[in-house]
């Protein structure tokens, strides 16, 4: 995929990771004690324990986020942005076009000369073959 598309994908990935972070943390957070007067909240019924403890989640999610951001920075550094801007590029394109036309004309000339020589050789070959044929003594 070209680098700009990769950058765009990476931006979307950062967004996804960020909002998944907040969503997961909010959804899976254990209840909070409101005031010392109220009793401890009962532990929530956990039929199957989560494979990772909740306390590991913030660290894991933030590691993902920072990794995504670092990847974005690396991609930005890899951008092959040539200096000079639009005018320099347009000038280069015009130069390349004239050079392309010149080389194309040279190619055309060589092609025509080669075709002429090919026709000449073919005619000579036909003539030689005819002469050879005519010189053969009939049996």
């Amino acid at each position: 995929m070209d680098i700009i598309s990769q950058l765009q994908e990476q931006v979307n990935t950062i967004a996804t990771v960020a909002f998944n972070t907040f969503g997961t943390l909010q959804r899976d957070a254990p209840p909070v004690r409101l005031s010392p007067n109220y009793p401890e909240p009962p532990p929530p019924p956990i039929p199957t324990d989560d494979s990772s403890n909740f306390s590991d989640l913030p660290k894991l999610l933030s590691v993902d986020l920072v990794k995504a951001a670092k990847k974005f920075d690396a991609l930005v550094a890899a951008l092959p942005l040539s200096e000079g801007g639009e005018e320099a590029q347009l000038k280069k394109i015009a130069e390349l076009q004239t050079e392309n036309d010149a080389v194309g004309q040279e190619l055309q000339r060589q092609l025509e000369a080669a075709e002429k020589e090919l026709k000449l050789v073919q005619e000579l070959f036909n003539e030689a073959a005819d002469n050879c044929f005519n010189l053969k003594k009939p049996d």
Binding site: A18, F72, L79, L81, Q89, A114
Partner: protein, 168 residues
């Protein structure tokens, strides 16, 4: 429950009755549309240019100007984004009811990021064009060299064969 039949085709086919004998007796196809046009109630334009952020009602965070340093702006926007995400986390812990402003800021940064990346596309198109032209020039030069070489080889062979025939 009656269902309607399909509408009949438009009656313009009668105009093309003598098309085989005289192609000019039938109306010309309509010219291509220019400018803005309406299609199924939506407005479209034939001039494909990236609309600037102000036209979409979005504040532009990176400095305007003829030549924007894309790499620097992209990196600084990325850093701002990270800061805003941290800020959002803080706000959610301390004052959860004020999340909306922070979320708006984050989406503003994302819109700016995408707009910057989209404005890189014309540059990419021109760079691709330059690359294609260079490849084509290289291929053509190679072809010229090949043809020259073959012609010389053919000339040499002909001279040799002439020599052999004369010496015969």
């Amino acid at each position: 429950m009656a269902t309607a039949t399909y509408p009949p085709p438009p009656p313009y086919y009668r105009l093309y009755k003598d098309y085989l004998e005289n192609p000019k007796s039938a109306p010309e196809p309509p010219p291509p549309v220019e400018g803005a046009y309406v299609c199924y109630g939506a407005n479209y334009t034939t001039d494909d240019v990236l609309p600037s952020l102000e036209e979409q009602g979005v504040r532009q965070l990176y400095p305007k100007g003829p030549n924007v340093d894309f790499k620097k702006e992209l990196r600084s926007l990325n850093r701002e984004l990270q800061l805003h995400i941290l800020e959002l986390a803080d706000v959610l812990v301390e004052r959860p009811s004020q999340y909306a402003r922070r979320v708006e800021d984050i989406s503003l940064i994302f819109k700016n990021l995408h707009h910057l990346l989209n404005s890189l596309r014309p540059h990419q198109a021109r760079a691709t064009l330059i690359h294609i032209l260079e490849l084509q020039i290289q291929r053509r030069k190679q072809a010229v060299e090949d043809i020259k070489r073959r012609r010389e080889e053919a000339q040499k062979l002909l001279k040799e064969s002439l020599g052999t025939l004369d010496g015969h």
